[in-house]
Symmetry: C2
Subunit: 216 residues, 2 copies
DNA sequence: CATCTAATTGACCAAATAGTCAATTATTTT
DNA sequence: AAAATAATTGACTATTTGGTCAATTAGATG
């Protein structure tokens, strides 16, 4: 995917040897700071500290804070794009739902920070992602809804609203990333474990398949 | 509910005639600013502007920014506490699930801002709500999970993990508040309408009841 | 080796902002 | 109506912070 609204600055950059590595370190540090402190609350100094670089060096790689944030978002969206399972007509509803739930749960557990950045951006009004949502995302949802509708018309699954179904899969999977803190606190645990992925995938798959009147 | 960790400052305040009204105006303005800009990003000045009051006046009612934020959170939690439907043993699983989904969808559509503030707080690590989650929330989930377990043991519903079920109801309903922007953009709409509440409630109730092997 | 580009970094500055204060006005109480 | 309390507000300050700059070092390239 090419988020060309964001790559205007990064595209023209000079390419040294250290750049790629430094940028990656900075982006990761920035992602964590932006989650903990919000956009305004994350100071360039704090990002630099976390990246163990002088502030001036951070600003040498990214001209300003806004650019750092863009880079973080860009990477988040690319991760989202790769990680989201696809819905294919030839899979049929059962396999498609299983695939997409498994992919999204995996993403939520293995990369909660990407999900958190995305969620905060949307909650705050999607200032930087309006265009992405209006074009790419809307298109994606419509395409996939259309496929569900075909299955419904063929009597392969119950007559549930496809868009609501997509939102349901979306929200229920992402919840384990965004509300990580709350879930861990409620379950009195320090962190997720490997088997949680399997357990949650199983639960959501069963529930939603039954919801669509598909035998698990 | 008494969030006595937060009321330490407000409890001792002097009570004039104008105070109650001014505080309410400020809290509402602050809620909106905090959502749009985050805690650090929302300046006292911007809150004052939105409340149409001089900054010094805002700081007369709330000693500092932190206190404003506390007041916003306090009100959010109280709203949450009132709005969340209760799960009662005597209702049985079907009625209980119907009740709680209806209540939470209603809350999400009618007061998305409360949900957004709460979500942001949790995503950012629940700095101000750790205690609330550790005590009240954990207790609430455990109590309700226990009731679901009784129904399961009685064969009144399918053997689904009660805690996961609670998370599912939680996430799928709240999604319509937190991701309002995204959902509206995808559906190419300017705002929610009255009938959306009914439609979403119906969809989620049907899906989740079927997921629990309960006939809608 | 000489030249050019990339990378590093301390010092500095202008703008934004949380919070204080004192002076004044409005309202309530006695 | 006098005294006391509540509310209002402009002006001021100390601190934080995004961003610039110039000086220096490291590395590549011819």
């Amino acid at each position: 995917m090419n988020f060309n609204t964001m790559t205007t600055t990064t595209a023209v950059k000079k390419q040294g040897k250290i750049r790629a590595k430094s940028e990656q370190i900075i982006i990761k540090a920035a992602q964590e700071e932006f989650i903990l402190q919000g956009y305004k609350g994350a100071s360039v100094q704090s990002i630099a500290d976390r990246a163990q670089l002088p502030k001036a060096n951070v600003l040498y790689y990214f001209k300003n804070k806004e650019n750092i944030y863009h880079a973080v978002l860009e990477q988040t969206l690319n991760m989202w794009d790769q990680g989201i399972g696809d819905i294919l007509l030839e899979d049929g509803p059962k396999k498609a739902i299983e695939k997409i739930i498994a992919a999204k749960v995996k993403m939520s557990f293995e990369n909660p920070n990407a999900s958190k950045i995305y969620a905060m951006e949307i909650i705050q009004g999607a200032q930087h992602l309006k265009e992405f949502a209006r074009t790419y995302l809307r298109q994606w949802v419509r395409e996939k809804a259309k496929i569900f509708q075909i299955w419904i018309d063929n009597g392969e699954m119950a007559n549930v609203n496809p868009v609501n179904l997509i939102f349901l899969i979306w929200s229920s999977t992402q919840h384990y990333a965004d509300f990580e803190t709350q879930i861990l606190t409620i379950m009195n645990r320090a962190e997720y474990e490997e088997e949680d992925i399997e357990q949650v995938t199983q639960f959501l798959t069963d529930m939603i398949l039954r919801g669509c009147k598909l035998k698990p």
